[in-house]
């Protein structure tokens, strides 16, 4: 199971000043944590970047530094947020008698926990992702469902193109005159 397990830095072996060795040791463990990592936690580096980027947005003139303990609090909070949102989305999914949590369940869960402000930007983000990966199976399967459900009015592309060709021909005739 264990991949790379780096031994924890031994303060006794640290050659730096004893006053700083604790801070350095903590820094080193922070770095190793990024590699080994707790499977249940979000990567600290990414959390730190998110926090720092937001702070630089908020205070462009002065630089706000963040205590390491505060970063852990952000990381823990985000983890609990995912837990809470997952449990809520799972409940919604079960109510619909499905077993797979999908994006819509998550959106409903967000509204349930009063984070409905997020739904708009998240939908837009998801749509952007779907468009980027247009050949996804889920997208094509959903498209098939839509075609099955309602849109019998849409004829196959052959007749549609014929209409367009007629229009083009008429335009050409106009241009010719």
């Amino acid at each position: 199971m264990a991949g790379k397990q780096k031994p924890k830095p031994n303060p006794d072996q640290d050659y730096r000043a004893p006053q700083r060795e604790m801070a350095e040791a903590e820094k080193e463990t922070a770095v190793t944590d990024k590699v080994v990592g707790d499977a249940e936690e979000l990567p600290k580096a990414i959390v730190r970047r998110l926090v720092k980027d937001k702070l630089s947005q908020l205070s462009s003139d002065s630089e706000i530094s963040v205590f390491r303990e505060a970063l852990e609090a952000f990381s823990d909070s985000a983890r609990i947020f995912v837990h809470y949102l997952s449990a809520t989305a799972n409940d919604i999914c079960k109510e619909s008698k499905r077993q797979t949590i999908n994006a819509e369940d998550v959106f409903k869960a967000l509204e349930e926990i009063e984070f409905s402000d997020y739904v708009g930007p998240l939908r837009a983000s998801l749509e952007g992702f779907r468009q980027k990966n247009g050949g996804k199976r889920s997208l094509s399967s959903k498209a098939k469902e839509i075609n099955k459900k309602g849109k019998k009015k849409d004829l196959p592309s052959g007749s549609g193109s014929q209409n367009k060709d007629d229009e083009n021909e008429s335009n050409k005739e106009d241009n010719a005159d």
Binding site: A39, E40, E41, L42, I46, V47, R49, L50, V51, D53, K54, L55, Q57, L58, S59, S62, E63, I64, S65, V66, F67, E69, A70, A73, F74, D76, S77, A78, I80, F81, V82, H83, Y84, L85, S86, A87, A89, N90, K94, T100, I101, N102, A103, D105, V106, I113, E114, F115, D117, Y118, P121, L122, S125, L126, G128, F129, R130, K132, K136, S138
Partner: protein
């Protein structure tokens, strides 16, 4: 307080990729949240990833306001705690911060977020 411009800024800044938070890690957290969570669609972790980003940024903003009020330039954990207590929709985090702070005060009536 919340302006749509704040969110549009996310897309403008090229620093954060489309999915900054690793989807596999998010899936693990989701499955650890409950034994009942068994199957997750491919898109759900993407939404979770972005939602977590927005959540962290909102918490950052509110904690930063606490830092400003205290006239400090270093964001302390107590600022995060204060932001959680003051924000109604962050009630689910109260247990986390109360365990760490060891205080069992009744939550003060908060204004609408």
């Amino acid at each position: 307080m919340r302006q749509p411009g704040a969110y549009s800024g996310l897309r403008i800044s090229g620093k954060t990729g489309p999915h900054s938070l690793p989807l596999a890690r998010i899936k693990k957290i989701m499955k650890n949240s409950s034994d009942e969570v068994k199957m997750i669609s491919g898109e759900a972790p993407i939404v979770f990833s972005k939602a977590s980003e927005l959540f962290i940024e909102e918490l950052t903003k509110r904690a930063w306001m606490m830092t400003l009020q205290a006239k400090r330039r270093t964001l302390h954990k107590e600022d995060v705690v204060s932001a959680v207590i003051k924000t109604d929709i962050f009630d689910f985090l109260v247990n986390l911060v109360s365990e760490n702070s060891g205080k069992s005060e009744d939550p003060q009536p908060v204004m609408e977020a």
